[in-house]
Amino acid sequence: MKRRDLLKGIPVTAFGFAVNPTEAAVPAPPDVKPLKIPGGRQKFEAVRDAALNAEKFFTPHELQTVTVLSDIIIPADAKSGSASQAGVPAFIEFMMKDQPRNQTPMRGGIRWLDNTCTKRYGKPFVQCTKTQQIDMVEQIAYPAIAKPDMTQGATFFSMMRNLTASGFFSSQMGIKDIGYVGNTPNQWDGVPDEVLKQYGLAYEERELNMGK
C-alpha cells in the first residue's frame, strides 16, 4: 500500500492529535511485485496501466462480435491486412477499461445488435451467415439515412467505425498503409518541387534564400 493511500484512510480530525508517527503506527507492507515504470511514464500512469491490463472487460462472445465487426469495417485488401490482423480488438478492449464511459454504449450496442439479429434472422450476429451480417450492417452503416428502428444501431456502428479506424491507422500496419513517413530525424527543406508544380504553387524568392 502506498503512503498516500494510508493517509487517505485517516480522518482529518485525527491529525490534530497525532503524536505517533503515522509511518510507524501503520507499517506499509512491501510492494508485492516491483513495478517497472516504462520510459516516459509517470509512476501513477504505470500503476494504472498495469491494473487495467490485468482486468478483462469483454466476454469471449463480445470480443468475437467486435472482431467480426472490425473486419467488416476495415477488411484486408491488396495494400494491407484487416483490423483484427492489426490488433484492433485488443485496442478496443483496452479503451473500454481506460475510458469507462465507453462501456455501456459498447456492451449495450452489442446486445442491441444481437437482439435485432435474433429478431431478423433467429440468431445472434456472429452466428448469422455472412450475407445476413452484411444485410444487418447495411441497415446501420449510414447514420443519416438509417430507418427509425435502426438509429441506435447506427450510433453503435459509428462508435465501432471510429474506434476501428483509430486503432487500425495508429498500428504499425495502418501507419504503413496510410503512408505516414515521418517520426524520424529529418531535414525539412520545403514541399518537393513536383508537388509544388502539381498545385501551381511556388516559394517566394526570400524563402528560397533563407538560411543560406
Binding site: F44, N162, W188
Partner: protein, 580 residues
C-alpha cells in the same frame, strides 16, 4: 519522525525563487550568473527531456496502449506535461456563473516543457492601451525598457522568424524560419488574396545551432513532447541546467511553497515555508530576497495565503489588487477540409513542432466594434496518426464524391471506407484566433473560504466572465475564418458557431495565458508592483511570472515573461551589488 515537525535549513540564501517555469528558470539563470546564491523551489519532480526515463519523443502510437489518447494527459499520452486541467488532490473552484479552466504543470520547467514555442514580442502599442483607447491599463514601462532584454533573450535562447518591419509585430534576432508546408502555402495564397497577411511564424526552435550545449532541430514536429536534443526552448533544459552548472543554485524538487515569511518589525520577507510533497514535512528556507514565479495563478494564491498581522489582506496587498484583473487570451477556432488535397503525394512533412506561418493582427480597431486585436494560428498536414484518427468520417465522406464520381451516404464500411481514409489523409486544416482581452477588475481569483488542497493549503476560487469586447472579437474571428477557408478552396466543417455559443469563444483559462493577478503600475493604490516587478509594500519581494502584466497584447506571453524576468533579475543583482 513527526511529519509536522518544522525543519529549518541552516543556510540563508541570497535569493529564494519559487517555481522553475519560464519566469523562475530565467531568474535562476540570471541571478546564478551574477554570482548570487540561489535556492530554486519547484513543487513538481525533476525532468530532463534527454534522459530515457522521461523521453516520449519519437515513440510510435502503438507504444501507448491507448494510442496516445488523452486519458491521463490532456494533450495526449506522449505530451511532456505532468499535470493538466485537474490535478488529484490539488483542486481549485469557481464562483457561481463562472467557467474557468486552470492548466498547471508540476515539474521542473513548468509549462515550458510542452508549450507551443510561439515566441512573440509585445509591440510598443501593447504597453499603452489605456492611453490609446481609454479602456484597460497602461504599463508603467514601455517597449524601450524591455527591448534590450527581448534582444538578449532572442540570442540566448534562439527564435526563428523573419524581418517584416511591422510596427505591431517588432522584429528580433531571428534564426531562419522553416519553409511553409503545402497546406500553409494554400492558406497563405488564399488569405493574401483577400488582404489578410500570412508571415513566417516565430518559434523558439533552433533551426541552426547556437551553442555547444544544444543541438539543432531535426524536424520531428514533436516539441510538445520536449526535445532530447534541447533544440527547442524549455526552461528545464535551456535555463535551469546551465544555471546549476554555475554551482550557485540549489534546486529542491517536490517543494510546494505554502507561505512567504516576513519579519513583523521590518515588514520584509525573510524566506519561505514549503511542504515537502514526499514526506509532508514543513520546511523553512531563509533568503534575503524572495522571487515568485509560480505562474500567475499560483503566485496570487501564495500572496493571498501569506497573511500576517502586518499584512492582513495577504502579502503586498495593501491595494487589494492581488488576484484582480486576471485575464486570459481569447480563443476561437474552426476546421476545414481542402478537397484539392485529397489523394496527395506522401512525403515527410513533419517540420518543426508547430505552424510554419501565422497571421499577425492586421486591422485597425478604431474601425471595428471591438477594441483589441488577435492573431491567427494554423494547423493541418500529414501528421502522425494517433487516437482519434478518422474519427467522425460519417459526417465527411457523404459530402464528397467517390473516386468513380458516385455519391454515397456518409459512413459505410469495407473496402471503399478504407479507401476514403487514405484519400482524406492530410486534407484537413484548422485555424484558431488568439486575441487580447480587456482586463477587468470584476474578473479575479481569491482564496476559497472552504476548500484546501491535500497539503492543507487554501485553494483559489475564480470569478471570470467575458465582456462584450471579447465576444465581438470572437464573432469577427469566425467571419474571418470562413473567408480564409473559402479563399483557400476549403469546406468549413461543422456549423458556424453563433451567438448562442459566444461565437465559439473558449471559456477563460482555456488558452493558458492567464496574466495580471499582481499587476505592476505607478500608483501603489491600484497596483501591486512597481515597474521593476518589485512589491510596493515589500521591497525584497519580486514577481517574475506573468502576474505583473497589466495586459497581454494579442501575443502569447512567454517571451515577455522571459524578457521581464531577466530585467528584474538583473535589477535584483544590481541592488545587491550596491549594498556591498
Amino acid at each position: 519522525m513527526d511529519p509536522f515537525q518544522i525543519k529549518k535549513a541552516p543556510v540563508e540564501y541570497d535569493v529564494a525563487i519559487v517555481g522553475s517555469g519560464a519566469g523562475g528558470g530565467m531568474a535562476a539563470y540570471s541571478l546564478a550568473k551574477s554570482g548570487a546564491k540561489v535556492v530554486l523551489l519547484e513543487a513538481g519532480g525533476y525532468f530532463d527531456p534527454a534522459d530515457p526515463k522521461y523521453i516520449t519523443q519519437l515513440k510510435w502510437p502503438w507504444e501507448s496502449p491507448r494510442r496516445g489518447a488523452s486519458t491521463t494527459r490532456p494533450f495526449g499520452d506522449f505530451d511532456a506535461a505532468w499535470g493538466g486541467w485537474d490535478i488529484e488532490g490539488e483542486p481549485y473552484t469557481t464562483a457561481k456563473g463562472t467557467e474557468f479552466h486552470w492548466f498547471r504543470s508540476r515539474m521542473l520547467g513548468g509549462r515550458t516543457n510542452h508549450w507551443g514555442r510561439i515566441s512573440l514580442r509585445f509591440a510598443p502599442d501593447d504597453f499603452r492601451r489605456k492611453t490609446m483607447t481609454g479602456i484597460g491599463e497602461d504599463w508603467p514601462i514601455g517597449y524601450d525598457d524591455l527591448k534590450p532584454f527581448y534582444d538578449r533573450v532572442d540570442k540566448l535562447i534562439g527564435v526563428f522568424g523573419s524581418v517584416e518591419n511591422m510596427p505591431s509585430e517588432p522584429d528580433g534576432f531571428f534564426l531562419p524560419p522553416p519553409k511553409p508546408r503545402l497546406h500553409e502555402l494554400m492558406i497563405r495564397k488564399g488569405a493574401r488574396s483577400i488582404g489578410i497577411p500570412v508571415i513566417p511564424s516565430r518559434l523558439s526552435i533552433l533551426t541552426k545551432p547556437i551553442n555547444d550545449e544544444r543541438g539543432q532541430c531535426f524536424y520531428c514536429s514533436q516539441c510538445g513532447r520536449a526535445c532530447q536534443a534541447y533544440a527547442d526552448f524549455s526552461s528545464s533544459s535551456v535555463l535551469v541546467k546551465p544555471a546549476m552548472k554555475t554551482g550557485n543554485v540549489t534546486l529542491i524538487n517536490g517543494a510546494m511553497v505554502r507561505e512567504v515569511l516576513t519579519d513583523p518589525a521590518s515588514g520584509l520577507c525573510t524566506g519561505v515555508s514549503y511542504v515537502d510533497t514526499q514526506t509532508l514535512q514543513e520546511v523553512t528556507i531563509k533568503a534575503k530576497t524572495v522571487v515568485l514565479a509560480a505562474s500567475a495563478g499560483e503566485t496570487a494564491r501564495l500572496l493571498l495565503n501569506s497573511k500576517s498581522g502586518r499584512f492582513p489582506n495577504g502579502l503586498a496587498n495593501s491595494s487589494g489588487v492581488v488576484g484582480k484583473y486576471i485575464n486570459d487570451s481569447t480563443g476561437a477556432s474552426r476546421s476545414a477540409f481542402i478537397p484539392a488535397l485529397m489523394d496527395r503525394k506522401r512525403y515527410n512533412e513533419d517540420g518543426v513542432g508547430g505552424m510554419h506561418v501565422f497571421t499577425p493582427w492586421w486591422l485597425d480597431n478604431k474601425k471595428l466594434d471591438f477594441p483589441r486585436g488577435y492573431h491567427i494560428e494554423y494547423w493541418g498536414g500529414m501528421g502522425m496518426p494517433a487516437y482519434g484518427f478518422g474519427w467522425g468520417i460519417e459526417a465527411m465522406n457523404g459530402m464528397l464524391a467517390a473516386r468513380d464520381g458516385s455519391k454515397k451516404p456518409g459512413g459505410g464500411y469495407g473496402a471503399s471506407l478504407k479507401d476514403d481514409y487514405r484519400r482524406f489523409y492530410g486534407a484537413y486544416i484548422g485555424m484558431a484566433g488568439r486575441g487580447e482581452p480587456v482586463p477587468l477588475e470584476s474578473n479575479y481569483c481569491e482564496i476559497d473560504p472552504n476548500v484546501v488542497d491535500k497539503y492543507g493549503i487554501p485553494v483559489l476560487r475564480f470569478n471570470y466572465k467575458w465582456s462584450d469586447y471579447e465576444i465581438k472579437q470572437a464573432k469577427h474571428m469566425q467571419d474571418t475564418f470562413e473567408e480564409i477557408i473559402h479563399a483557400a478552396g476549403g469546406i468549413a466543417l461543422g456549423n458556424k458557431p453563433g451567438a448562442e455559443t459566444n461565437y465559439g469563444l473558449e471559456a477563460p483559462g482555456k488558452i493558458i495565458h492567464e496574466v495580471g493577478t499582481a499587476r505592476m503600475g505607478k500608483d501603489p493604490k491600484n497596483s501591486v508592483l512597481n515597474g521593476y516587478q518589485q512589491a510596493h509594500d515589500v521591497k525584497n519581494l519580486f514577481i517574475v511570472d506573468a502576474a505583473p502584466f497589466p495586459s497581454q497584447g494579442d501575443k502569447n506571453v512567454t517571451w515577455t515573461i522571459l524578457a521581464s524576468s531577466m530585467r528584474t533579475s538583473e535589477y535584483i543583482a544590481d541592488l545587491a551589488k550596491k549594498k556591498v
